[in-house]
């Protein structure tokens, strides 16, 4: 399956990360649509499986951005919703761009 199969009817992709970002212990490509944040990864060398995590933008209560690291800058976005908290991390420039893109739809 491709990412297209996970999009809702009429859902429009607005931004996709050039590099993968980390969520928990795994890394994903981040796709930002006008309705949701979709974390997408294709796993498996021979038999491909999709790994998809979705967060609705409407459910978000707060988005925090912070940086860490002494030499290499690491950016972290904390997405707070009523039921959960998600930390997305990766190179600061990539995460900052993601944050700025998200701000356009919130």
């Amino acid at each position: 399956m491709t990412l297209r199969d996970y999009l809702l009817p009429g859902e429009e992709v607005k931004f996709s990360s050039r590099r993968n970002v980390r969520y928990g212990t795994k890394s994903y490509q981040v796709i930002l649509s006008d309705r949701r944040i979709i974390l997408y990864a294709e796993r498996g060398a021979l038999f491909k499986n999709d790994d998809v995590v979705v967060q609705r933008l409407d459910d978000l209560q707060g988005v925090k951005y912070r940086e860490e690291g002494i030499i290499a800058k690491k950016g972290i976005i904390r997405l707070q919703s009523l039921r959960s908290e998600m930390d997305l991390s990766g190179p600061a420039e990539e995460i900052k761009t993601l944050y700025q893109q998200m701000m356009r739809f919130m």
Binding site: Y65, E67, Q100
Partner: protein, 169 residues
């Protein structure tokens, strides 16, 4: 989410100035439009502040970085933060102006007169790229990139335009 928070913040400040809760339904179209446009700018200012705080967090967390920043007198971040503070002051001044107008509107309605018209510009003022003149999006970080000529401009480069934009509301 951020739009709602910005609107709440603008209304909270308006109510503090007016001295009582503001019922948006009772406001004139011009005043409602002014609040909406001010909310848009406030929203972007919130986003810029969050980015600046996020960048500063890395330096604050680490004693070594903090010391080296002090030694280098690296005050670029401080300049950006001061620029944002300056823009916030312009927004607050505009809120004071709108709140004074709301009081005038309420007074006019109470005495059975037509509420006075606001003198704001009806068309939203847009930011223009100083290099090519194309319309720029409102910045959501320290820098904004022109989609047309790809010039990267700092918030300082466009702050006077943002101020004009706020003042024209």
């Amino acid at each position: 989410m951020l739009s709602q928070a910005s609107r709440k913040e603008v209304l909270r400040k308006l109510e503090a100035k007016v001295g009582h809760p503001v019922n948006e339904e009772e406001l004139t179209q011009e005043t409602k439009r002014a609040i909406t446009r001010l909310t848009e700018v406030q929203r972007n200012l919130f986003a810029i502040s969050e980015i600046l705080e996020g960048e500063q967090s890395r330096i604050n967390q680490n004693a070594l970085l903090s010391l080296s920043s002090k030694l280098r007198k690296d005050n670029e971040m401080e300049r950006h933060a001061a620029g944002v503070k300056d823009l916030q002051k312009v927004i607050d001044d505009k809120i004071s102006e709108i709140s004074a107008h709301i009081l005038q509107e309420e007074e006019a309605i109470r005495s059975g007169n037509i509420p006075p018209r606001r003198e704001g510009i009806l068309e939203a003022v847009e930011l223009k790229c100083p290099e090519c003149g194309a319309t720029l999006p409102l910045p959501t970080g320290r820098f904004v990139k022109c989609d047309y000529c790809k010039t990267t401009l700092s918030i300082q480069d466009v702050s006077s335009q943002i101020k004009d934009m706020i003042q024209s509301i």
